[in-house]
C-alpha cells in the first residue's frame, strides 16, 4: 500500500534503515513531491531517530556540484543532519553491514567555533565562525532502492547520508584559500580520484553560509562544535569489504578508513 503522508514516509525510511531493506522511491507513487515535501519527511524521520537516543552533531550538504545538481534537476544543494551514531574516527573500520548501497566521498569538513544563525550570513561571516577544517570522508547511502532517487526522495532520506569519518586535528582556515585545497583519494594505495575545494559550490565556506541561511529560515542555528560536511570533491566510489580508503587534503592531513564486512 502506498504511503501518502510525511509521518508514514518517515516511518518507512526508519524501517528501511533498521532492516537495511531499501524501499521504492516516494516519487514513483507521487511524482509531484518536491523539496518541501522531502524536508517534511526528513523532520519526521529525525524525530524518530532522536527519540531512540541519537543526537545531531552537525550537517551534511549534498548536491554541491553542478553535475550532481543537473543529474537531480535542481539548482541548489540539499542538507541533512549528521547523527552521533554515524561518526567514525581516522583509522576506524566501517562495517559494510550497516549500509544498503554505500559509496565513499572525500570532503572538506568544517568544525564550527561560534554559533552561526541565518538568514543573512555572508561567506566572510561563515569563515569567521569556523574553528577550522579537518580531513573528511562521507559514506553516502540510499535507503531508496538502487539509488533511484529524485530530489524529494534523497532529501527525505537524510540527504543520502550514511556515516562520516574525520581526522581529529582542527586546522585554522582564516588564512587558507579553501577553494584551492587539493585532495587525493586512494583505494588500497591506488589513486582513485583527485579534486580541490572549489568543487563544492565554488568554495566550501560558501556551503557553510548557504546552510546557515537555509536552516535559519526554520529558526535552526549551527552550534559550536558542529561538523559541516561540505560536499564531495569527486564522483562517489563504491565500497568492498577489505578496501582501505585514504583521503588526503593539502594542509589538512588525511583520514583513513577500512571497510569491514
Amino acid at each position: 500500500m502506498p504511503v501518502t503522508d510525511a509521518a508514514a514516509r518517515a516511518r518507512a525510511l526508519y524501517d528501511a534503515r533498521r532492516t537495511r531493506t531499501p524501499i521504492p522511491p516516494f516519487t514513483d507513487d507521487d511524482p509531484t513531491l518536491g523539496m518541501a515535501d522531502g524536508y517534511a519527511v526528513q523532520r519526521e524521520l529525525v524525530d524518530l531517530l532522536l527519540a531512540d537516543g541519537d543526537r545531531i552533531v552537525g550537517y551534511k550538504v549534498g548536491l554541491t556540484s553542478e553535475p550532481m545538481q543537473k543529474m537531480i534537476g535542481v539548482d541548489s544543494p540539499d542538507h541533512g543532519p549528521v547523527l552521533a551514531s554515524t561518526v567514525y574516527r581516522d583509522g576506524d573500520e566501517i562495517p559494510l553491514s550497516r549500509f544498503i548501497a554505500p559509496k565513499v566521498e572525500a570532503e572538506i569538513v568544517f568544525v564550527l567555533g561560534e554559533r552561526l544563525a541565518g538568514p543573512g550570513v555572508t561567506v566572510t561571516q561563515a569563515r569567521a565562525a569556523l574553528a577550522g577544517a579537518v580531513a573528511g570522508m562521507e559514506i553516502v547511502d540510499s535507503r531508496i532502492a538502487d539509488w533511484r532517487i529524485k530530489l524529494a526522495d534523497t532529501v527525505a532520506d537524510l540527504a543520502s547520508n550514511g556515516a562520516v569519518a574525520t581526522s581529529s586535528r582542527i586546522v585554522p582556515v582564516a588564512d587558507l584559500d579553501t577553494r584551492l585545497v587539493g585532495m587525493t583519494l586512494t583505494r588500497n594505495g591506488e589513486l582513485v580520484d583527485t579534486g580541490a575545494g572549489a568543487a563544492a559550490l565554488g568554495d566550501p565556506v560558501a556551503v557553510v553560509a548557504w546552510l546557515a541561511n537555509v536552516l535559519g529560515e526554520n529558526g535552526v542555528a549551527l552550534e559550536p562544535g558542529h561538523l559541516i560536511m561540505t560536499g564531495a570533491l569527486h564522483a562517489a566510489v563504491p565500497m568492498t569489504p577489505g578496501d582501505v580508503f585514504r583521503a588526503e587534503f593539502d594542509r589538512l592531513g588525511a583520514v583513513t578508513v577500512r571497510v569491514g564486512a
Binding site: E66, D177, R179, L180, V181, G182, M183, T184, E190, L191, T194, G195, A196, G197, A198, A199, G202, L233, E248, F249, D250
Partner: protein, 253 residues
Amino acid sequence: MITISELAARLSKAVADRTAIGTLSDEFPELDIPTAYQVQRALRGAAGPLAGWKLGVTSRAKQKQVNISEPIYGFLPAAGALDLGEPLDTGAQIQPRCEPEIVFTLGRDLAGPHVTAADVVAASSGVTVGIEVLDSRYADYRFTMADVVADNTSAARYVVGAPVSPEGIDLRLVGVVLERNGKVVATASGAASLGHPAAAVAWLVRALAAEGEGLRAGEIVLSGGLTAAVPVGPGDVVVASIDRLGSLELACR
C-alpha cells in the same frame, strides 16, 4: 608504401588549412606507436626552435580507458607560446580545448634511463601553472594512440605563468581549479598526472633517453593535463588556478 614525411605533411597541411583530416590509422592500419613517433620527429624537425616538451594520457583512469600502460609525449615549438595576457585566436585553430597543467622549468640538463621524480624536482629551477591549448588535427578528437602521437599529442598553443621555486611544495596535493566564464568546470590535485607531476616528467626523461635525447636547461615541460580539457570558442575566458603556483587567465577571440 607511404613515407614518414608524407604522413607528417598531411598533418602539417591540416594545421595550415585549419581543417581536420581523417585519421592516419584509418588509411594505414599498420601505423604503430614507434612509427608514429617518427612522424612526430619529422614534424619537430620542421617546427623551428624548441621550447620544451609535453606529456599526454598521464591519467591512470584514461590509460585504462584507452588500454595503454604509459603516457605519451610531444614537443613544444617556441612559436606555440602565448604570452601572458595574449588572447587565443580560436579562428587560427581547428577545435581548441584547454586544460590546466603544472609546468616545470629545467635549471640544468637532465637525461638518462634511471631518472626519478626526485631528480626532476632537483633539476628544476621553477614550477608554475600553465594552460595548454590542444587542437587535434583529427575530426572530433577521434583517434588511436598512434594517431595522436603522430599528431604531436594534439599540441597547439600554451601559456605559462611565472615560475616559483619547487622547494617545499608537495606538487601531488596542490589544488587545481579550472574555470570557464566564471564557472568552476573541473577540479583536481597534482596527483592527477601519474600520481605526481614530477613522476610524469621523469617518465618523459626515461622515454627520451631511449632515443638518445634528454631535457636541456631552460626547457619547459607541461607535465600532463590535470582535468578533462574544455572546448573553447570566441568570447570564452578560461582561468586555471593552482595552489601555491598561481593563476592564469586566457581570453579567447
